[in-house]
């Protein structure tokens, strides 16, 4: 399935993929949600699932994580694989007094300095002691990412990582994810609902609508008839507008940051 894998600097032996999904089928109360899904993620590779609402993206993620058992098919994880998971839509009740530091260590205890370092890595060191209810959407997503990274994952599974983040922040986050992949060499499987946002970041796109409509390098998918049919010409045109080169970007506070290595 690896149609056009980009060379990844930190990738270990490309021989064994981190994650292999083979011919997975799942129906919920007779309603087919996933049909004959194949998917592979290797170290250092970013694979993005896109598709309309109800396409089964989050369900596929849950199957991969072992939260839902498929009716048939196989999920194979590389032995000893550590998975970091960033869930979609996480609402923490206002009545729960919880700081960011505490949230990040809920899964596994860690010394404060290590939490601070990982928060700095995702660019949110300033919220270490803030209540989780008091931070911005972008900071919240970074906090979730930090909790996933605390496990030193080989594979990151990110379900709509840019949710609740404004447009500038969305590019920021995708840049960060791209950077993390280069820095850590981990494989990344993520869900997004729009292709144009992930064009620059992703190596492989799977266009999902209960089955895999088309897959491959983002450029190939963007011009694929199945993609155009699914998202319409509007979506395709928007893609043309957004698919351009940025010569600068903004940090969390809106200040212009000069790009070190241009992308696009």
């Amino acid at each position: 399935m690896a149609v056009n894998p980009l060379p990844a600097p930190c990738a270990s032996s490309p021989a064994e993929p981190l994650l292999t999904v083979e011919n997975v089928n799942l129906a919920i109360r007779g309603n087919p949600i996933l049909q004959a899904i194949h998917l592979q993620v290797s170290a250092g590779e970013i694979v993005t699932l896109i598709g309309p609402n109800g396409a089964g993206k989050s369900t596929l993620v849950r199957v991969v994580l072992g939260l839902i058992r498929p009716d048939s098919g196989q999920i194979r994880l590389k032995p000893g694989l550590r998975v970091g998971y960033m869930p979609q839509r996480l609402a923490i009740d206002d009545t729960l007094p919880l700081t960011v530091q505490r949230f990040i260590t809920l899964g596994a205890p860690a010394p404060r300095e290590r939490v601070r370092a990982i928060l700095a890595e995702v660019g949110a060191a300033q919220v270490l002691d803030s209540p989780v209810q008091a931070i911005s959407g972008g900071e919240f997503q970074r906090m979730l990412l930090a909790r996933a990274l605390l496990r030193e994952p080989d594979l990151l599974v990110l379900d709509e990582p840019i949710q609740g983040v404004d447009l500038t922040g969305q590019y920021e986050l995708y840049d960060l994810i791209s950077h993390l992949r280069r820095q850590r060499g981990c494989g990344i499987l993520m869900v997004s609902h729009e292709l144009h946002l992930v064009m620059a970041t992703t190596d492989q796109v799977l266009c999902l609508n209960r089955h895999v409509c088309c897959s491959g390098h983002p450029d190939q998918v963007a011009s694929h008839p199945a993609y155009l049919e699914l998202f319409g010409l509007d979506g395709a045109r928007r893609l043309a507008i957004y698919h351009h080169h940025h010569n600068h970007r903004h940090d969390l506070h809106g200040a212009v940051v000069v790009e070190e290595e241009p992308h696009g």
């Binding site: 849950r62 994580l65 072992g66 939260l67 998975v83 998971y85 869930p87 996480l90 923490i92 009740d93 009545t95 729960l96 007094p97 919880l98 700081t99 505490r102 949230f103 809920l106 899964g107 596994a108 909790r147 496990r151």
Partner: protein
């Protein structure tokens, strides 16, 4: 102090100490109505315990647990919303309890004491049950703390990180059942939820961490028990409801404190 008043105080404190921390989780998980439903089923437990001639408190705990499991199973069908299911279970089990009691011709019980508590009639035996149950619940909660907190924030994330969420949820329901069984004597099945919810809600404004909120909730529950009993003795008011009114007054007082003070009181 009279013996019966001392026993009432000791019994009330035991229940409040366990109800506070457990109540914090009920507030965080938005399970107030769930706790209320289990409490309502307590009367059925009492009736069954009497009919089958075993300890009513065990009957209450067992019935609460069965109702909790019934709810988990009913939730699998996704036609009726959870609050509808809870409404059905709460009032069916309460009525079933009353009907069952009517069949027990040889037994005459004071219904009011089960519905609203009879804290002044706590016997030394009751005290053993209360402190045993409350101690067990607190010890179990302490062991369960980390995984339960992780599952409370996000079940799937906790599961991916290795928490056995189903077991944890079941254990948590068992703890609620135990606390309801021991709290029945103190405030009665209709008022138990208040002892779980009100101190925790009061503690929220002063707490900076989950632990401090839980401990503070236990402390505030104890204060409510003391104040309620004192008021009951002073003005001859019903003891259980007086404890609840005291808890509500503490909540009101906490809400009225200025912000600046709130932040520095408890860390």
């Amino acid at each position: 102090m009279d013996d019966f008043l001392l026993r009432a105080l000791l019994g009330g404190l035991g229940v409040a100490l366990a109800a506070g921390p457990l109540g914090a989780f009920i507030v965080w998980r938005r399970m107030a109505y769930f706790g209320d439903t289990l409490a309502h089923s307590g009367l059925l437990g009492v009736a069954l315990g009497m009919a089958l001639q075993f300890n009513p408190q065990l009957g209450v705990a067992a019935t609460c647990l069965l109702i909790a499991i019934a709810l988990v199973l009913l939730q699998r069908q996704r036609v009726l919303a959870t609050d509808t299911l809870l409404g059905i279970l709460a009032h069916t089990s309460l009525s079933l309890g009353l009907v069952t009691l009517a069949f027990l011709e040889t037994v005459r019980i004071d219904l009011t004491s089960y519905l609203f508590g009879d804290i002044l009639a706590i016997s030394p035996d009751d005290l053993y049950w209360i402190w045993g149950g409350a101690g067990l619940a607190l010890a179990a909660l302490a062991r369960l703390w980390r995984p339960l907190l992780a599952a409370t924030v996000h079940e799937e994330l906790a599961q991916v990180e290795g928490v056995p969420v189903f077991t944890v949820r079941l254990a948590f329901m068992l703890l609620i059942a135990i606390v309801i069984a021991v709290a029945m004597k103190v405030v009665g099945i209709l008022l138990i939820t208040s002892l779980l919810i009100i101190p925790a809600a009061t503690a929220r404004r002063f707490a900076r961490s989950p632990e401090s909120m839980a401990l503070l909730a236990g402390g505030l529950g104890c204060a409510a028990v003391g104040a309620g009993l004192w008021a009951s003795w002073r003005w001859d008011t019903p003891a259980g409801p007086s404890v609840v009114v005291a808890a509500a007054l503490l909540f009101l007082l906490g809400s009225l404190l200025p912000n600046r003070l709130r932040r520095t009181v408890w860390r």
